[in-house]
């Protein structure tokens, strides 16, 4: 049996949503992790509550390739609706595992795959009385069967069940029972383990398994956010819900019953960003989380925050656009509408995490940036990072970290001050001083407004005052860009003349692709952009290569637009690799696009819309 089938395969569970499969599938992934083998797991779900097809894809990869791979080695086909397509998706030589309770004629099966039937429904009907149990335990039965088939240590699964139901002890034993029914059936009827299998390893190390939204939410807790205002929208709701959950653990005083946080489900996105702005203006750290449609609705308020210089932290968990688009699919297509959010001349800070760990880091750092620079900060996550569990470095916190509240004048400093001017550029860095309401009986009060004003925050229609202010804002952005997380540059094995730029959730696929390309003899240096406005390293990187690829998960090469107009880069030097069908980008795709492009590309001056690849 080829070594490459051990700890190296993709298994996909095809279920009906609302049928309780999610927790069983997650148990599956975690049991492999417990055996020390890296996995990545992705939920592919419909915009629906119950009855439509949903999939859970687990990639097992000893080497730690955690991007979506593409293709399926083992399909656990539990949904009649998607049966045909599911079977087609299996790579030749793969396995189909299905519920054989109802006989399926042999002609209905592909012949280039191995078919494994487990009479799951029959087993459940035989062993359980309660109809709900009969339904629910089907998932445990296939999980049991898989442990036999794939050589998963059943003890790990049992331990996980025990941990999961620690508060509902009674549920443990029937679940374990169901597990064993499946395990035993498979062991008896098939040659176990099959070709693909799991072997204990130590590749997971100290890594943790967590979704980006939870990690970002914990970042907000650690970053000292006390006010959350949000409106439900996929795929961002779980960020707010996790924040509330964590706050109930970490911010609830059990003696007094009081909370040191306030989370408000607002009436819509306009209200949620308004609340964030109000709270931040009044000195609390506040955030909202949303997705594309919410970003569109927040545009007016974001312009106010930019112009009146009010901190605000906005998590944009991107999904497929435009409009309602593909609400349960992933994309990186809000780059432009966030970077230049709102009418008039505006520019916004973007932080772009690539995994849950960075969601946590940027989660807490965003509040420092927002307060230090007195401006909105977007954390540009996406559905792939946000809603899927990823194997990621453990979250890190150092108790020396302090909150940088920026230039806020206390009562004492106001007492000493001759004259306070809200929009004076005292330090020459474009960042003015602010005061919080209620601080001082006679000094420091000012009027915040979205209209033009002078340096003392007094309403002014003078073109001179207006321009003075707009230029200070420009200075502020010019200096802050070097203080944001710098792009991460990695060099290929051999001196490369080609560079590749990418960002966000593309990282695991990109890293894997770089490795393949290296194997193909193509060495590339890479740069992962982590923030906008860009630091100097970004244009320097581009300048250093004959040819630069830019990999994005959107149709219109939005990051390229930002790069060429902000870094004065000749767009002809950048070749876009664009993936935007809503599924996470894969190493296979990147490798093949880059390979093809290197074969064919000559420097040309065609219109972007033609020269773009998809």
């Amino acid at each position: 049996m080829p070594e490459r089938k051990i700890n190296n395969f993709v298994i996909k569970f095809a279920n009906v949503n609302g049928s309780g499969s999610a927790s069983a599938n997650k148990l599956f992934a975690r049991s492999i992790l417990r055996m020390g083998v890296p996995v990545s797991a992705r939920n592919i779900f419909p915009s629906n509550i119950q009855g439509l097809p949903t999939w859970y894809e687990v990639r097992v990869s000893e080497k730690g390739h955690l991007g979506s791979r593409g293709g399926v080695d083992i399909m656990v086909a539990m949904n009649a609706q998607s049966w045909n397509q599911d079977q087609l998706d299996i790579e030749s030589g793969g396995y189909l595992i299905y519920d054989s309770s109802r006989p399926v004629p042999a002609s209905k099966f592909r012949t280039d795959i191995t078919v494994i039937g487990i009479p799951i429904t029959d087993i459940c009907n035989r062993e359980f009385k309660d109809p709900r149990q009969r339904q629910l335990f089907r998932n445990m039965v296939y999980l049991g069967a898989l442990s036999s088939l794939l050589a998963i240590d059943i003890a790990e699964v049992e331990r996980l069940i025990q941990e999961q139901f620690s508060s509902k002890e009674a549920l443990v034993s029937p679940n374990v029972q169901a597990l064993h029914f499946g395990m035993d059936y498979a062991a008896e009827h098939f040659d176990c383990p099959i070709g693909f299998r799991v072997k204990r390893s130590s590749s997971v190390g100290s890594k943790i398994f967590i979704d980006g939204n939870s990690a970002a939410a914990l970042g907000c807790v650690y970053g000292g956010a006390t006010v959350a205002a949000w409106y439900p929208i996929t795929p961002s709701s779980s960020l707010a819900e996790s924040y509330e959950k964590f706050c109930k653990t970490y911010r609830h005083d059990h003696d007094t019953g009081r909370n040191s946080f306030a989370s408000i489900q607002a009436e819509d996105e306009l209200a949620s960003i308004g609340m964030v702005i109000g709270a931040s203006w009044n000195g609390a750290r506040a955030f909202t989380c949303t997705s594309g449609p919410g970003i569109s609705l927040m545009q007016e308020f974001i312009g106010l925050a930019y112009f009146a210089e009010i901190p605000a932290v906005i998590f944009d968990v991107q999904r497929g656009g435009p409009s309602t688009g593909m609400p349960t699919r992933t994309q990186q297509s809000d780059i432009l509408s966030c970077a230049y959010a709102s009418h008039g001349d505006t520019k916004q800070i973007l932080l772009i995490p690539s995994d849950p760990k960075e969601c946590f880091d940027f989660g807490y750092q965003a509040f420092d940036f927002a307060e230090k620079f007195q401006t909105p900060v977007f954390v540009m996550s996406d559905l792939d990072i946000g809603m899927n569990d990823h194997l990621t470095d453990p979250l890190e916190w150092n108790d020396e970290i302090t909150y940088d509240r920026g230039k806020i004048l206390s009562k004492e400093s106001l007492d000493e001050l001759a004259q306070f001017g809200r929009y004076l550029d005292v330090d020459g860095d474009g960042v003015p001083y602010r005061t919080l309401p209620g601080t001082h009986p006679s000094k420091g009060a000012f009027f915040t407004r979205g209209t033009s004003r002078d340096r003392y925050a007094k309403y002014s229609e003078s073109g001179v005052d207006y321009q003075d202010n707009m230029q200070r804002l420009q200075r502020k952005f010019e200096q802050l860009r070097t203080q944001l997380p710098a792009a991460i540059i990695e060099e290929g094995k051999t001196k490369a003349s080609i560079g590749v730029i990418y960002y966000g959730s593309t990282e695991p696929a990109m890293k894997e692709a770089l490795q393949y390309l290296e194997e193909d003899g193509v060495s590339l240096d890479s740069m992962r952009i982590r923030a906008f406005p860009f630091g100097d390293e970004v244009s320097e990187f581009i300048d250093s290569y004959d040819r630069v690829f830019l990999v994005e998960q959107n149709r219109d090469a939005q990051m390229k637009s930002l790069l060429v107009s902000e870094c004065n880069v000749d767009p002809n030097r950048i070749t876009s690799i664009l993936h935007y069908n809503g599924s996470p980008i894969t190493a296979r795709f990147i490798r093949s696009e880059i390979t093809q492009s290197l074969d064919a590309l000559k420097p040309s001056r065609k219109r972007k819309s033609i020269s773009q690849k998809s």
Binding site: V204, S206, I208, F209, L218, V221, Y222, G224, T226, V227, A229, Y250, T256, R258, N259, S260, F261, A262, S263, I264, A266, E267, L270, A271, S272, I273, G274, M275, V276, I277, G278, A279, S280, W281, N282, G283, A284, A286, F301, L304, P394, L395, E396, W397, N398, Y403, L436, P437, G438, T439, P441, S442, A445, F446, F447, T448, R449, G450, T451, Y459
Partner: protein
């Protein structure tokens, strides 16, 4: 507008209140509204109310949307922070501000365009959440700042300055406020300062969502005959249901009234609202009866003013959220950050 700045010198005999402030300390910048605009009278009433309540001016936060009405926070309480936000969205900004610091007094000023058109949703939701604040709509039935288009509070059948008739049903903010759960609801008239000042004082002393619909004629665009928001029309149709005295804990309660003619409502902070009834069958406690009375009067063409509904016992938003008593914006890393040990545990649970 008077562009001659007020004399800067303080009159030596200006009376000082317990915080050492004179009436002038409650004033703001010179108004740039039209001479005679109703809104300026409301600013004066706010100044008077805050002065009489002896509030420290800087402990007030003034928030507004966009419009002539929304400009007014510049014209009172010059030592208080102000926030002229965006059109129709003051309520969400105020809610956020209130969450950040429960210890300030929040005064939201808006217009009928700002609150009944673009801002109707936010208007409704801030009231139903019970945000502790005073929300004043300076209601002139038109868009003043954009030059006289009808607003959604213009009465059906009323006529614009150019003679065009309004056909849509008018939005009655007082009815909506009571329906939506506001716990102090009043209607005033910018032309009657003696009524308005106590209404504002009562609202400030109330804990919870206090709403005042203040009819405030627009001299420039809605004070002609045919308008139902002009000075003459409102004076003619004004029907006050009660007269309010606001007695703070240190006021001595002296006057004696015939039983039944006076209703006393003790507010959360110890202030007593004494309502001298004008209309016998109006009970501000009985929300359902009050709404019924208002609807009947409206159908009869009356503009009912006075305190229209009070519920002094309702929890405010901080109560329902169970937030700590210290302002959230005063908490630091010590109170907020779970620290390294917690994260180590957190990581361990995710392996």
């Amino acid at each position: 507008m008077t562009f001659i700045a007020k004399p800067k010198l303080r009159h030596p005999e200006l009376q000082r209140n317990k915080h050492g402030f004179t009436r002038r300390d409650y004033e703001g910048a010179v108004s740039t509204l039209c001479a005679g605009c109703g809104h300026d009278s409301i600013s004066a009433a706010i100044i008077q109310a805050c002065y009489e309540l002896e509030l420290p001016p800087h402990r007030v936060a003034k928030l507004s949307g966009i419009g002539c009405s929304s400009k007014t926070p510049t014209y009172f309480l010059g030592n208080a922070h102000g926030f002229n936000s965006v059109h129709g969205r003051m309520p969400s900004v105020l809610t956020g501000a209130n969450l950040a610091n429960r210890d300030l007094i929040y005064l939201g000023v808006s217009g009928d365009g700002d609150s009944a058109s673009i801002g109707l949703g936010q208007f409704a939701h801030i009231l139903r959440r019970g945000v502790n604040m005073v929300y004043i709509v300076e209601n002139n039935g038109v868009y003043g700042l954009t030059k006289g288009q009808f607003s959604a509070t213009a009465d059906r059948g009323s006529k614009s300055k150019r003679g065009v008739e309004n056909h849509s049903a008018s939005i009655d903010l007082v009815m909506l406020a009571i329906e939506l759960g506001a716990t102090y609801v009043a209607r005033g008239f910018s032309g009657d300062k003696s009524q308005l000042v106590p209404l504002i004082k009562g609202a400030i002393s109330h804990r919870g969502a206090a709403f005042i619909d203040c009819i405030s004629p627009c001299i420039a665009f809605n004070n002609h005959s045919g308008s139902t928001k002009g000075f003459d029309y409102v004076r003619e149709h004004n029907e006050a249901v009660n007269f309010l005295d606001v007695m703070t804990p240190r006021d001595e309660i002296t006057a004696d009234y015939a039983p039944g003619s006076v209703q006393e409502i003790k507010q959360h902070d110890g202030t007593v609202l004494r309502l001298r009834k004008i209309s016998e069958d109006y009970d501000v406690h009985d929300r359902v009866a009050a709404m019924h009375y208002l609807q009947k009067s409206k159908a009869a063409g009356d503009i009912v003013t006075g305190v229209l509904h009070v519920d002094p016992e309702s929890p405010d938003l901080h109560d329902t959220l169970g937030t700590v008593s210290a302002p959230l914006n005063s908490l630091g890393k010590k109170e907020l950050c779970p620290g390294k040990s917690a994260i180590d545990k957190f990581n361990a649970a995710r392996r």
